[in-house]
Amino acid sequence: MNSYTITDDKQIDTAREIFSDLNAMNDVLVEAANTGIEAALAPAELYAFALGTAGPNGAKVEAALRASAPIRAAFQDLLARVSEYHVPRAMAAASDDIAVRDGVDCKISIQPSQAAPDQVYVIVELTRASSRLPKVMHLMGAGNVYHRAELPEFHDGIAQLIVESTSEIITLIQHPDTEVYLK
């Protein structure tokens, strides 16, 4: 027999709260295992994406970055914490497209390709040696715009990408509001 003495209303109120807590906990556990509700984005997924190791979750993270300002803000904070090099927003609002972006210990420039007029070089130059060379370039544009590019190997502190001159990466680099993180 499970017998309990009731002392006062306060005891009942407290018991009601505990009962509610226990039932809520059971519901969370049961429903998380059986529901069709899709899992939200986990911080570890965002972190892996910032490190450039997102793997199969990359599309999920990119979709979340486009859809959610708080997630973009969190991602930018993580980038700031983990990135070796950072190019901040340009100080002056330029009327012309910017061809060179200066960051701390790094520089990104755009140069036309002589061989293919519709292509340009994106040249990433590191002015400070680091034991960990960046592998990914994250571009955080104004609004919901995000773009990432895998970087080729650095030689003497320089890595070069060749891209279409009308590609999103060029638009973003040339825009003064774009911040660039190299990781």
Binding site: A42, P43, S68
Partner: protein, 539 residues
């Protein structure tokens, strides 16, 4: 009333609130799933379902029942203060909490031992059990076994409400990194986080439906008692189910049974009722009430925080060993292991659940898939229900097998060099007596040293006789397999104990009039009549 209106409006803003069937919002479920679904490189869960995700659910819903419902926040803040001293870089916290694929105590232990001394180490102590910090006005230690839960909590917090509080929470954590910290600072930080969690709970947990459930059971029991006592017994469960109006949750006997178990747990936790009143203040007298659900198997079987030992056998290293066959050995004890000691406390109600619960589930399923009236009408008669005595016999057979498994595990664990200590910790300080008790189904008794050889020989013979995956001779040289037996042995001891107690209680019921056969006949008529009312064609 105002609060209820607030909740409804808030939940309506939640895009997936309507999808969630429980009192937890869709957002809460989605954010919980973000962690419970996460997997390690080997495909196993990143966070162990138990105790880590179970502990996180308990924290989120305030169901911890301890002296302070948010004490984990206090512990997390200490850990972050420790990390700030061990590894002061801007990315150290993210790397520590987010940069691993498997949240295991051993992983965090290695990580902490791996810091190279660049930080402020004067105030830090690192040993094999955990990591400690000394402030000007106090000190605190965090066990490695707690860190998986704290890591899950960290992830949950910073992602809560779609990362809406990310920056606020990070600001709180960033403030803990300095070398001049004190306990007061930790308490303030924990209180700031606690405030965010209170808002989250208010927004994402609709308590009204749980209150209604409690009120229904309490009012029913109070009316039966007639004094200042309430009695929760087997007949109360059945009478409540039979007398309920058939609407909502209480239509299903299983739901009623589980509601009464939660009710018992609630009043069992009465001694810790100050948790609610003092949940706003963190830190005082925490040490005295610290809960340590680490990864040691023995810690998870305490009454009041029961977790199925069967689940332990099916995860981690133990999962690779076929202790039990799914259909014939696991399934018949699944419910008993799930409800644990509470099944014993409502022993007759539990037998009814085992016999008639599947019948009702079958009827519900028939109706859902529109299998036709003939099947429903056939089930309503309950003629296919398991007889109680047969159910008890099934449990006895499985108990015999569990005892054999214990002997096999004993052999594996005692075959290792220096194994005495391992076995002692698993078998409660007296391996030989526990094994003897398992062998004889007796209470623990002294077994002299000369009997040990006989016991060992018998254990070895049992081990060799079992032809199943994981019981090959080679396991004696496999660290993973031995770890599986270590974890499994703890679960087997808990299973045996529960089976023995439940069978004893059921046998006592059978030995008193009306016996189990008579009870079954009477109950079958009761359930058939109730099913007829709920699901039968109108006469």
């Amino acid at each position: 009333m105002l609060i209820a209106l607030d909740l409804d409006l808030t939940l309506m803003d939640d895009p997936v609130a309507m999808i969630s069937r429980s009192g937890a919002s869709g957002t809460l479920i989605a954010e919980f799933r973000a962690l419970s679904d996460a997997t390690a490189m080997d495909g196993a869960p990143k966070y162990a379902p138990k105790p880590v995700m179970h502990g996180l659910a308990r924290f989120i819903t305030s169901a911890s029942g301890g002296p302070n419902k948010d004490s984990e926040l206090f512990e997390l803040c200490h850990l972050i203060a420790i990390l700030g001293r061990l590894a002061p870089g801007p990315d150290a916290r993210a790397e520590f909490f987010l940069g691993f694929s498997k949240a295991a105590a051993s992983v965090f232990r290695a990580s902490i031992h791996g810091y190279d001394g660049a930080g402020d180490l004067e105030a830090i102590t690192v040993d094999e059990v955990g990591v400690g910090v000394r402030y000007g006005d106090g000190e605190f230690a965090v066990r490695y076994g707690r860190i998986p839960l704290l890591a899950a909590l960290y992830e949950f917090l910073i992602a809560s409400d779609g990362f809406a509080h990310y920056q606020d929470i990070n600001d709180v954590f960033d403030g803990l990194g300095g070398g001049d910290g004190n306990v007061r600072q930790i308490q303030d930080a924990a209180n700031a986080l606690s405030s965010i969690m209170r808002q989250y709970r208010r927004k994402h947990i609709e308590r009204a439906k749980y209150y209604e459930k409690f009120n229904a059971i309490f009012t029913f029991l109070r009316a039966r008692s007639g004094d200042n006592q309430i009695h929760v017994d087997d007949e109360a469960v059945l009478d409540f189910w039979v007398s309920s109006n058939g609407a909502g949750d209480f239509r299903v006997y299983k739901t009623v049974f589980e509601g009464f178990i939660e009710f018992i747990k609630t009043f069992d936790m009465g001694g810790r009722t100050d948790a609610i009143e003092h949940s706003a203040v963190i830190g005082t007298d925490f040490e005295a009430h610290e809960v340590e659900p680490d990864d040691q198997s023995g810690d998870i079987f305490a009454l009041g925080d029961w977790q199925s030992p069967l689940a332990v056998l099916l995860q981690g290293a133990a999962a690779d060993i076929k202790f039990l066959k799914k259909e014939s050995e696991q399934k018949p004890i699944e419910a008993l292991m799930q409800y644990g000691p509470y099944a014993e406390r409502l022993a007759m109600a539990f037998l009814r659940l085992e016999s008639f619960g599947p019948i009702q589930a079958g009827i519900t399923n028939d109706l859902q898939v529109k299998r036709g009236r003939a099947s429903v009408e056939n089930r309503i008669t309950c003629k296919d229900a398991f007889e109680y005595r047969q159910k008890v016999r099934d449990l006895e057979n499985i108990l015999d097998h569990v005892k054999q498994l214990q002997k096999a595990a004993y052999h594996v664990l005692t075959s290792q060099p220096g194994a005495e200590n391992n076995v002692v910790s698993l078998f409660g300080g007296a391996p030989e007596t526990s094994f003897q008790a398992a062998r004889n189904n007796d209470a623990l008794a002294e077994v002299d040293a000369s009997a040990m050889a006989e016991i060992g020989a018998e254990a070895e013979a049992v081990f060799r006789k079992i032809v199943r995956k994981g019981f090959e001779e080679s396991v004696l040289e496999s660290e993973d397999r031995i770890e599986g037996f270590r974890v499994g042995a703890g679960a087997l001891v808990a299973m045996e104990s529960l089976l023995v107690r439940y069978i004893k209680t059921a046998t006592a019921l059978d030995n008193a009039p009306p016996d189990l056969a008579e009870r079954f006949a009477s109950d079958r008529a009761t359930f058939a009549a109730r099913f007829q009312t709920l699901y039968g064609e109108p006469q």
